[in-house]
């Protein structure tokens, strides 16, 4: 398969099949995801976008009855091989969920949660991480005077940026976003899209979106899924302006989904 951009491949998915019990949710998925770019997964609801995203940080491991065939390599290492430690993997592959899910703790403690898990307890070091993470998520100016306040005192959009900052605090290489804006108002959505644009210089971002226009606006390459299969994968501009598969064209022109 061709590499789409000049960026190097970071994630290589090879003939991946995933089963939920007897249900075949991902079928022969092969993809190369380049580093330091935004890759969008689009497709109708239930086509397996979230499932594929969760294989990248092995959150599927926790769903009983899940079985996987084929491989996923990140920087050349098979993440399903025995010598990959799932906690280390998840530290390197951060995730932001559909609903903002801050802990019922202070803003500070939300950000410090991850670093503390991995053994950082020095107050000065934590202060530093909290500030840089919040700055990266463009939330610092809004909350710097209220770090002790409950994360629940923030608006939905702020909470989602807090969750992004929380994910960044453990210093990941990859950021997975599963419809991270679908619960937000248009202005908050825009802010997160802008944020993703800024972050892609430093992180590899994979985002699932139910919204084609969002994929078109922010991503560098787009993968179109249907019924657990990759139908088409191309540079975003090309996929939206000149799709090769009829089903892609039908989908992006709004004929179904």
């Amino acid at each position: 398969m061709q590499t789409l951009t000049k960026n190097q491949t970071l994630i290589e998915i090879n003939q991946l099949n995933l089963f939920y019990g007897a249900f075949h949710a991902l079928k022969n998925v092969s993809l190369r995801i380049p580093e330091k770019a935004i890759t969008a997964f689009i497709g109708p609801s239930g086509c397996g976008k979230s499932t594929l995203l969760r294989t990248l940080n092995r959150m599927n491991d926790m769903i009983p009855g899940t079985r996987i065939e084929g491989g996923i390599a990140i920087s050349g290492t098979d993440i399903y091989s025995g010598d990959v430690d799932v906690e280390t993997l998840r530290k390197k592959v951060g995730m932001v969920f559909q609903q903002p899910n801050p802990f019922p703790k202070s803003i500070y403690d939300n950000i410090a949660y991850g670093p503390r898990l991995h053994g950082i307890h020095d107050r000065k070091k934590l202060d530093e991480i909290v500030e840089t993470s919040l700055r990266s998520a463009v939330l610092w100016e809004e909350v710097k005077d209220y770090l002790k306040r409950s994360a629940f005192s923030l608006s939905g959009g702020q909470q989602q940026r807090l969750c992004i900052a929380r994910a960044l605090a453990v210093n990941p290489d990859i950021l997975l976003m599963d419809e991270a804006t679908s619960a937000l108002d248009p202005i908050s959505t825009l802010k997160i899209e802008e944020l993703a644009q800024e972050l892609k210089d430093r992180y590899t971002i994979v985002m699932v979106t139910h919204n084609m226009h969002q994929a078109a606006r922010v991503s560098n390459q787009t993968v179109f899924f249907l019924n657990g299969e990759v139908v088409e994968y191309d540079e975003t501009e090309k996929l939206f302006s000149n799709p090769t598969d009829q089903r892609t064209e039908d989908y992006i022109s709004g004929r179904f989904g």
């Binding site: 940080n57 959150m59 926790m62 009983p64 906690e87 280390t88 993997l89 998840r90 530290k91 951060g94 995730m95 969920f97 609903q99 899910n101 801050p102 802990f103 019922p104 703790k105 949660y113 991850g114 503390r116 898990l117 991995h118 969750c163 929380r166 994910a167 453990v170």
Partner: protein
């Protein structure tokens, strides 16, 4: 043009209103019966016991003369009992709840354990008394000691604590666990740093309510041989002991009116203690609701 509001069947509406009113009245009466009975009981006890609610009640040991009798040993006995029972049942109960909710595979064995625990919560307390007598008093040679009593009561409240702690743990949204795992937390880190902090007030509420049930229990302790007349304070966990409800029972069973009054004053003390415990449970629950 027809007005839709005029169109409706007035007779039918009037009938529905009547039913509504009657039912409301019936429910009110049902509630009132409970409340009134409780109030009557309270007033009766307070008027009986208020005269005996004096410093001697707390400072004196039981005595053959009602005027000198107090329940110091019973109050201290109950408190000591709590002191052993509360941490023990908290650790065991919460440990079991964490295991069942977070670690146990959801298979047939787990379901059977779960069913058993729920059933145990409904077993009459006297049965726990018999178990305690056999297991702790005789087999483990603890004798009729405070420790044997506390262990027996711990068994009695464990199912209640486990079930309520499980409910509190289950109420923690999955998304909060996901957030923790996605940051690279292990299972225990997730449980200890995310799940427990989110459920601790719910868990404590259950523990306190279970404790307040245990404080009022008499039967199992009579069974394992708590004394009814204790004129000393237990100095260690192996000493014999009495508790408030047993002391009250002892006083009630005497014919003299003055002992009846003494019993009523004992009941007031017990009720105040239960009330305080339930109040703290309510306060905790409110705090918990605010955080969810």
């Amino acid at each position: 043009m027809n007005n839709i509001f005029v169109d409706a069947n007035r007779k039918q509406i009037a009938g529905r209103r009547r039913i509504d009113f009657t039912l409301r009245l019936l429910f009110l009466i049902a509630t009132s019966i409970g409340v009134i009975a409780l109030m009557a009981l309270l007033i009766d006890i307070i008027s009986d016991g208020i005269s005996m609610l004096r410093p001697e009640l707390f400072n004196n040991f039981p005595s053959r003369r009602a005027s000198e009798a107090g329940m110091k040993s019973a109050i201290v006995g109950s408190l000591y009992m709590l002191l052993i029972m509360a941490p023990l049942s908290f650790l065991l109960g919460v440990g079991a709840a964490i295991y069942l909710e977070e670690y146990a595979k959801k298979n047939r064995i787990t379901r059977m354990i779960q069913l058993n625990i729920s059933t145990l919560a409904g077993v009459p307390s006297i049965v726990y008394g018999i178990l305690g007598l056999t297991l702790f008093v005789r087999e483990l040679h603890l004798g009729r000691s405070l420790l044997a009593g506390a262990f027996t009561m711990t068994l009695l409240v464990l199912p209640i604590i486990i079930v309520s702690a499980q409910e509190a743990i289950r109420a923690v949204p999955k998304s909060r666990r996901d957030a923790s795992y996605a940051l690279g937390a292990t299972k225990w880190q997730t449980v200890s740093r995310s799940v427990l902090p989110s459920s601790i007030s719910g868990i404590l509420t259950g523990v306190i309510l279970a404790m307040s049930r245990a404080i009022g229990e008499t039967a199992p302790l009579v069974m394992i041989g708590a004394l009814t007349f204790v004129a000393f304070l237990p100095t260690g966990p192996m000493d014999s002991f009495t508790v408030m409800p047993i002391q009250i029972y002892n006083w009630v069973s005497r014919p003299q009116a003055s002992f009846q009054a003494l019993a009523a004053s004992g009941i007031i003390v017990l009720l105040v203690m239960l009330l305080l415990m339930n109040l703290s449970a309510i306060l905790l629950r409110n705090k918990y609701n605010k955080h969810m």
